[in-house]
């Protein structure tokens, strides 16, 4: 009995220690004096690596998601004679929930895993240690640009996801199923509130961007410097990021829903 309690206590302490280390890493990353001359090119590189290189998967996924939502929604709405409401259905589903959440999940799989593996490998091959010995802080030089890169890329990717998904829905609803284009767009315009729907969705994506990148960087930075350790860190970064996104989505939605 005592041994079980002891183990439970040890487990709890380990969890708290991990949270503490992650918090310190975030603090050190966010609160340092930036060097714009060196920082801007590094940030641009990371926005390219995390954002631009994620575009393909985001665009293709969002197109198909928009098309599927339109197809499913049309047949359900048609039963109630409300097929003209397809535009609002798709737009609200996408900008409020699907856009931020699916983008974050895809980002965690595409960019988050790459971040964790890259930093873990840099650690295993002593690149981070050699940087430290050259009097260059790896948190400022390696971790910070990647965190800000994710923070900036995610909302932009979410906006692109939203636009492409709505275009996919337009292709299915208007071009294929024959809905009136004017009704599709005007109903959408009258139902979607810029502040409450679109901006709130962007807020979610900003939070998800920060959290997914933070988790991935933490997993990579504190990975065990072996091939098994890096593999495990990469897996954990995707799993923890996905769970955090889904959990936070509920919390954020609950906070925002008062205005809906």
């Amino acid at each position: 009995m005592i041994i079980t309690i002891n183990r439970l206590g040890q487990w709890g302490l380990n969890i708290l220690r991990e949270y503490g280390k992650a918090g310190i890493l975030l603090f050190q990353t966010l609160f340092h004096i930036p060097s714009f001359r060196k920082g801007i090119p590094l940030l641009a590189q990371q926005i390219y690596a995390e954002g631009v290189l994620s575009l393909l998967i985001i665009v293709v996924s969002s197109l198909f998601i928009g098309m599927v939502v339109a197809l499913q929604g049309y047949h359900t709405l048609a039963k109630f004679g409300a097929s003209q409401e397809l535009g609002p259905l798709v737009a609200l589903s996408v900008v409020r929930e699907l856009g931020p959440v699916v983008t974050a999940l895809l980002f965690a799989g595409r960019a988050g895993s790459a971040l964790a593996a890259e930093i873990g490998l840099m650690k295993a091959t002593e690149q981070l240690s050699s940087m430290e010995m050259m009097a260059v802080d790896p948190i400022r030089r390696v971790v910070a640009p990647r965190l800000w890169g994710g923070f900036i890329s995610m909302p932009l990717l979410t906006i692109i996801f939203n636009l492409v998904a709505i275009y996919g829905a337009y292709l299915v609803g208007v071009k294929w199923l024959g809905l009136d284009a004017g009704a599709f767009w005007s109903n959408m315009q009258s139902s979607v509130d810029f502040r409450m729907d679109i901006v709130n969705g962007i807020y979610k994506s900003i939070v998800f961007g920060l959290v997914v990148t933070w988790i991935s960087l933490y997993q990579g930075y504190y990975a065990e410097p072996t091939s098994a350790g890096i593999a495990s860190a990469t897996t954990r970064s995707v799993v923890y990021s996905s769970l955090a996104v889904l959990g936070l989505d509920f919390v954020l939605t609950a906070m925002m829903i008062g205005g809906w």
Partner: protein, 267 residues
């Protein structure tokens, strides 16, 4: 003699495993000092303690008369600008080519123009014989070439102290000969102070001015290469002569083979 590095009564543990137990080491300025010992004796850990990457449990490490573990972050980084370290794996940045690897610390710490940085990098690469490899990526280099690039990078800021972590391990005879010559030449030509951590006895003794041998957390021998080979403890003799069994046991601690074989098989 002026000492650049002074280590006093150093104690350090990895978890519960003691690595150093009251170690005293003095590194003389301008000399090549070798720190040797069997694998797992904490030689790399010692370099990390000197570089301020690890903190000792007890004792003090002075570099250039400053207690490195009591320095502020800025102080530590300023001191590190005067140190170079060659890691066992080289630690080259895999996303940068040879030229950019060597230029890295110059770009980070100096306001020099691109043309000045170019000249300096080419001079450093010339010293290690790899000026012609400036456009290659680290993945295109052999192990020996990677170490030489890492060496050029380590001396880019003209440090006062340079530390080598197992510079000869895994090298073919030609690369090893090149590295041995380079380490001695760079030390003498640039007026450096050199610390080599290694278990390659012959190569290290051939260039060292002074040698420390560590075993079981303490210094078991020290002196010039000639004196250390003449006398010393059984541990020291076993290490220097490469004997398979002795005070450093060939077998990992276990019960007797007979008992192990007769024991009932259980899964």
């Amino acid at each position: 003699m002026n000492n650049l590095v002074e280590i006093n009564q150093l104690c350090f543990k990895h978890g519960n495993r003691p690595i150093f137990n009251g170690v005293d080491i003095s590194i003389s300025q301008g000399k090549v000092t070798a720190i040797m010992g069997p694998s797992g004796t904490g030689k790399t850990t010692l370099l990390r303690l000197i570089g301020g990457q690890l903190k000792p449990d007890k004792g003090r490490v002075y570099v250039d008369k400053q207690n490195i573990h009591q320095l502020s972050r800025t102080g530590l980084y300023n001191l590190r600008k005067r140190m170079g370290m060659l890691f066992q794996s080289g630690g080259l940045f895999t996303h940068l080519n040879v030229f950019e690897n060597v230029a890295f610390s110059l770009r980070e710490h100096t306001p020099l123009s691109d043309s000045m940085i170019r000249d300096l990098v080419l001079l450093k690469l010339q010293m290690v014989g790899l000026r012609g490899a400036r456009d290659l990526m680290p993945s295109e280099l052999s192990g020996g070439m990677a170490r030489r690039v890492a060496l050029a990078r380590a001396i880019a800021l003209d440090p006062a102290l340079i530390m080598y972590d197992e510079p000869f391990s895994g090298q073919d005879p030609i690369s090893m000969g090149v590295l041995v010559k380079l380490i001695r030449t760079l030390n003498d030509a640039l007026g450096l102070t050199t610390i080599i951590v290694s278990h390659d006895v012959q190569e290290t003794l051939s260039i060292a001015d002074y040698v420390y041998v560590i075993f079981n957390g303490i210094i078991i021998g020290q002196g010039t290469p000639a004196s250390i080979q003449e006398d010393g403890s059984d541990e020291l003799k076993q290490f220097l002569k490469g004997l398979p069994d002795g005070p450093v046991r060939f077998h990992y601690p276990a019960k007797s083979l007979t008992n192990d074989l007769l024991e009932e098989f259980t899964v």
